[in-house]
Amino acid sequence: MDEQDEAFLNESFKRYYFKHAGSIDVPPRAHEREFGYQKFGSGMVRHMSIRARKDLHLMLIRETPSDIYCSNSYYVFPEITPMDKKEWLGADMIFDIDAKDLKLPCRPDHTVRTCLECKNVSLDSETCKGCGSKACKKASLPCRRCMDAAGEQAIRLAGILSDDLGIGEDKIKTYFSGNEGFHMYAYDERFQSLAAKERMELAAYVMFKGAIPKAYGAEAKDSFPKYDDKGWRGRFVRYVAQKKSQYRSSKAIVGDQGAFQKKLDEASEAIGVRIDANVTTDVHRIFRMPESINSKSGLAKILCQDVSRFDPYTEAVLLDDDPVEVHADCPAGFVLKGTEFGPYASQKVTVPRYAAAYMICKGLAGMGPLPAHARPPASSA
């Protein structure tokens, strides 16, 4: 990232942490967790221990991190390396839902590709429209439809955690990740000591992966689940029947193992929760801290009180709104705090600080002049 851009983001994040540090709390059992952070233009600092809220605030104000992380794991010695010397005690369960994994048809409309050869910026396509190169980096500016769809996955997941796994609703917290999805935390002590392999079972469960016909009543009509059955048996049969009146006819697949398995696989795609299973199973990962700013977007990772009504592009926009002039080359439009921005075709624009930060974090704007290729054509006059 350009030095001027780093300085701008650093200043924006600094203002945020200065104003909001008081509302950022350390997670429960902070003294047993590993912390880490990154600063603009430098590498990751890991294996830190932060014991109290005031230590965290001091660090946020002193360092102005571009990203700050905290482990879901608890350790006896969180600050010691290597990992196996930390003495793992347990970990909260975390599920990661990412809008990009939903592959909605609108995604190409708000995915921007920057050619690595000629730096041409355009909406998503196979090859560069300027030089034909395939080498590119991509940035997504997810639309509300994508985020709402990710939110629906989160609601579905919360239901399964609560109804099937018996995790109390008060122990489930859903956070907007600050970029393209949601992190769901389950703070339930009964699950904390589960190892990676065991967590894999839970991930497969919420994803409805690995179901076999025999377990879902494929062998006889009287073992076929009832329409109102709880758990996955009920969900599966409701998916097959679509409505109660078609329940009887949905039993037609009983006895045909191949057709039954096909239906189970279809159901996995359709009604299984789309999570990144690697996140759930990795018990040595550090996660972005709630209430901190995500340097991929300039938006904050915040708790969603009600996912169904949550608007990330209003509620998570917490940087200042003073006007800032930037050079933008952003072929996809976006909405923040109810205001539409862009598309911008290599132009100088004055936008609120949060919108400027959003585009700079995505690599679609800069404080300095745009590269020569990206400037608008000179007037013929």
Binding site: D163, D164, L165, G166, I167, R190, F191, S193, L194, K197, E198, M200, E201, L202, A204, Y205, F208, K209, G210, A211, I212, K214, A215, K230, G231, W232, R233
Partner: protein, 346 residues
């Protein structure tokens, strides 16, 4: 702490209370089973118990045949403990797992039957039914809480996955279980099957970690018999020392009589087939596996070899073995992507 009745001690002689029963209730010492002529028959029962386990059978108990409850309890408990001591004194490591597996399966039968009886009693009796004893025993051993719900037995999801992850069969995956409100619904058979591996480990540790004398007078003949039984399973493995560490490890596990997971057996057999070993050379390697069955092993190894025109399976990649916890790479493995390349490339 759970206090067992004498009938429970007889069914589950590996429990702590069984040792205390022998010491405190009967007053017998281990030495007496070698020196007292009236008690020497216990050694015979113990050897039969080991013999049955070695043959893959479950020791036929006299638990429900004998007239005297006291006598039954003594026979059951003492023969188990003497068998454990005999295995240790005979250093019959090839039988440790077989014995532990057979005893675990024996206990499973009682646990399952008692769970079903409890369910029947609670569903039909108008009187207050006492606690579910098999569940308390399982909880005491493995900290797993079990309760009854209608015809089913339910255990908490975390307890279930801790045990089920050791199973290879897909039916044990959580997704293939009825899960509601944090509980997994199982049959009595399902519950006891779930704890088998832990029970085997628990009983095996009674043999390997118990504090017993190295030798005792009056046990010589029985030790000789146990060594004779063990000798049938101590297959001499031709081992050149040139195998990759993963294969080396798998062979050592089998030599110890420990359980090698299905994926490890697959890797070992396909590796050896890959270096042109014949099925008949490979099959004896599995003789020490606790669940060895010659007919099944022969079928499986021949199947992997593609005998009769079927698919010939190849050895999994190092990457795959890593995900299965079967990789024990050493610097000599640098640059290879499949165990079959070991020693061929630098």
């Amino acid at each position: 702490m759970l206090k067992l009745g004498s009938d429970e001690i007889a069914k589950y002689p590996f429990m702590q209370d069984a040792g205390a029963y022998l010491k405190e209730t009967t007053g017998f010492t281990l030495e007496q089973f070698g020196s007292d002529p009236d008690l020497k028959y216990i050694q015979e029962i113990a050897v039969k118990r080991i013999g049955a386990a070695a043959a893959g059978d479950i020791f036929k108990s006299g638990l429900y045949d004998m007239d005297s409850k006291e006598q039954t309890t003594l026979n059951e408990v003492a023969s188990f403990l003497v068998a454990v001591v005999l295995l240790r004194m005979a250093k019959a490591s090839a039988l440790f797992n077989r014995f532990a597996l057979a005893e675990a399966r024996r206990a499973e039968r009682y646990l399952e039957r008692d769970m079903k009886e409890y369910r029947k009693k609670i569903q039909t009796s108008s009187k207050k039914v006492e606690e579910m004893r098999p569940a308390r025993i399982i909880e005491e051993l493995f900290g797993m809480r079990i309760r009854r719900d209608g015809d089913d037995f339910v255990i908490p999801v975390p307890d279930y996955v801790r045990h089920s992850v050791h199973f290879y069969e897909r039916e044990w995956k959580l997704i293939n279980r009825h899960v509601v409100g944090g509980d997994v619904f199982l049959t009595a058979h399902g519950v006891v099957r779930l704890i088998r591996n832990d029970l085997v480990t628990y009983i095996r540790e009674k043999i390997t970690k118990g504090k017993y004398p190295d030798s005792l007078t009056g046990f010589e003949d029985a030790i000789g018999s146990v060594r004779g039984i063990a000798g049938r399973f101590e297959a001499k493995v031709e081992y050149t020392g040139k195998f990759p560490p993963c294969v080396d490890h798998a062979i050592r596990v089998l030599q110890r009589g420990d359980n090698l997971p299905h994926s490890g057996r697959f890797m070992l057999a396909t590796f050896l087939l890959g270096i042109e070993r014949k099925p008949e050379e490979i099959i004896p390697l599995f003789k020490n596996a606790p669940d060895y069955n010659e007919r099944i092993t022969t079928y499986q190894v021949n199947n992997l070899a593609g005998t009769g025109g079927g698919t010939r399976y190849t050895c999994p990649s190092c990457e795959k073995l890593k995900t299965q916890d079967l990789c024990f790479a050493t610097p000599e493995c640098n640059g290879i992507v499949n165990p079959l390349q070991f020693g061929r490339r630098k």
